[in-house]
Amino acid sequence: MDTISQSPDNFHAASGSYNFAYLDEQTKRMIRRALLKAITIPGYQVPFGGREMPLSYGWGTGGIQVTASVIGPEDILKVIDQGADDTTNAVSIRSFFAKTTGVETTTETAEATLIQTRHRIPETPLREDQVIVYQVPIPEPLRWLEPRETETRKMHGLAEYGGMHVRLYEDITRYGKIATSYDYPVIVNGRYLMRPSPIPKFDNPKMDQNPALQLFGAGREKRIYAVPPYTSVKSLDFEDHPFEIQTWDQDCAICGSTDSFLDEVITDDAGGRMFVCSDTDYCGQRMAAHDASDETETNQ
């Protein structure tokens, strides 16, 4: 990924009126400085001067600004929403960058150098040469405990995180287990409490010691944070109620996967339903591999 140099030719080829990746160069620099700070203090929320973007808050304005600041002409971009490449949000953000940068886009996790995501981490393991950008609606994990920003900052400063367990305690008391299933709070690098954005807790273990660089952007609240490659990310839990991820009784109805995150799909109005991989690329790759091996068998 080449974030500094940019090719005016490439850009002019893509669009006649916008700067490369939409944002002006000064804004990108400002965001990159915030990103560098965020990377050096894993899990710490760095305020940045968020810009107005051509889509509304809640649609990924934070993630888009981060992506726009790190994307280079050589990058191959993948955008997913709830694991899928073909949902509205993913499609429009992908075409936004295709238009304003002219970079190549892909739906294949393994092919991408830069992935912007909402609510999932791909099932295919990420590599050192990849960057994943998360869209974050609410960055502050302590907000439900403490409404005052001055106070939450102080709590982060002093690592006063004991109160976070109160919510898990309530879960166990009410449901017999920790029922929080997404946006499950984590401690990064043994220090900062962080919201992983609304990914399912199924994905939490993937963040731990991940080889890829993980960046988080919250547009409305104008915060950036990061998890550098190979950094510890630990989910909160109790000694007698350890952290657990979701499991399903079914396998994926399409590809038969037994170890991916499944979505429930209603198929008719008579109670029909099926469970399929939420990661469409992963499911598709498996099907392709399956077809290929079928063909090999037929040919023989």
Binding site: K154, L158, E160, G162, G163, H165, V166, R167, Y169, E170, I172, T173, R174, D237, F238, E239, D240, H241
Partner: protein
């Protein structure tokens, strides 16, 4: 109340707080000894709450010192220690019982979680043990144990106040600040709560500073009394002596103004 101890638990000297040109409290000095309960009385606006906020680490005084006898280092000025140390003190060795339980409770979580919070804040990470301890404390404050998993908003004022007390005492504090602890309660509930407070203070050897405008409360649970007026302490002494033989004109006025039933 242990007369054998040689150092005060809390030592306040020359404490004044000004809100701009307005005096909150002025020139207050006193020592609180382990096991002692001191009452602060005076009418609204006399500086009781300002004083309480200053000595409980919630508001730095304009001048003066507040020293607390920490477990490791002896007397230490609470406004010169690091904020981290002070906040640690406030959630372990100190308690603060608010007049309105809503200010001292987390209304959105169950009674058990309210008690467990302070334990979790100091590192407890075993659900079963936290629950057992919470259960013990609810018993000690004579709380209906069946309601441990209910939200505080479903409790009566007296129950909420008991819960607030248990929540404060669970970490075994040595000093508890109370701001009108029985203020919002029915007279009948007040009496039981006062008795409970007195019992807990005796059993646990707690020290307490109780701000109240109710002289009857002061008589029943405090040993020493400070009478405040316009930000200054005008009289101090044994509680029964100040109430039965007040010396300062204002104390006399205060005592003679009580309605006799």
């Amino acid at each position: 109340m242990n007369s054998g101890s040689t150092a005060p638990l809390l030592s306040v000297s020359g404490l004044s707080h000004y809100y701009g040109a307005i005096t909150g409290c002025c020139g207050v000095s006193f020592d609180l000894w382990p096991g002692e309960v001191i009452g602060v009385v005076g009418e609204s606006g006399s500086g009781k709450t300002t004083l309480l906020n200053c000595i409980s680490g919630r508001m730095a005084p304009t001048v003066g010192k507040v020293e607390f006898c920490t477990r490791t280092e002896g007397l230490a000025d609470i406004y010169r220690m690091s904020e981290a140390e002070r906040r640690m003190l406030m959630r372990t060795d100190w308690g603060f019982v608010h007049q309105n339980p809503r200010d001292g409770l987390r209304m959105g979580v169950s009674a058990g979680a309210n008690i467990g919070e302070r334990l979790m804040a100091v590192g407890a990470r075993h659900y079963g043990e936290i629950r057992d301890t919470a259960n013990d404390w609810l018993g000690k404050v004579e709380f209906n144990l069946d309601r441990m998993d209910h939200l505080p908003s479903t409790f009566s004022g007296g129950m909420q106040q008991r819960l607030q007390i248990a929540r404060n005492l669970v970490t075994g504090p040595r000093l508890v600040f109370m701001d009108e602890p029985t203020g919002g309660l029915d007279v009948s509930v007040q009496a039981r709560l006062l008795d409970l407070l007195r019992e807990l203070v005796t059993d646990l050897g707690l020290s307490a500073i109780v701000v109240t405008h109710d002289l009857a409360v002061a008589r029943l649970i405090t040993q020493r009394l400070m009478v405040m007026r316009q930000g200054e302490v005008v009289e101090t002494g044994l509680t029964d002596q100040v109430l039965d033989d007040p010396q300062h004109p204002y104390s006399q006025l205060l005592v003679s103004s009580i309605l006799q039933v």
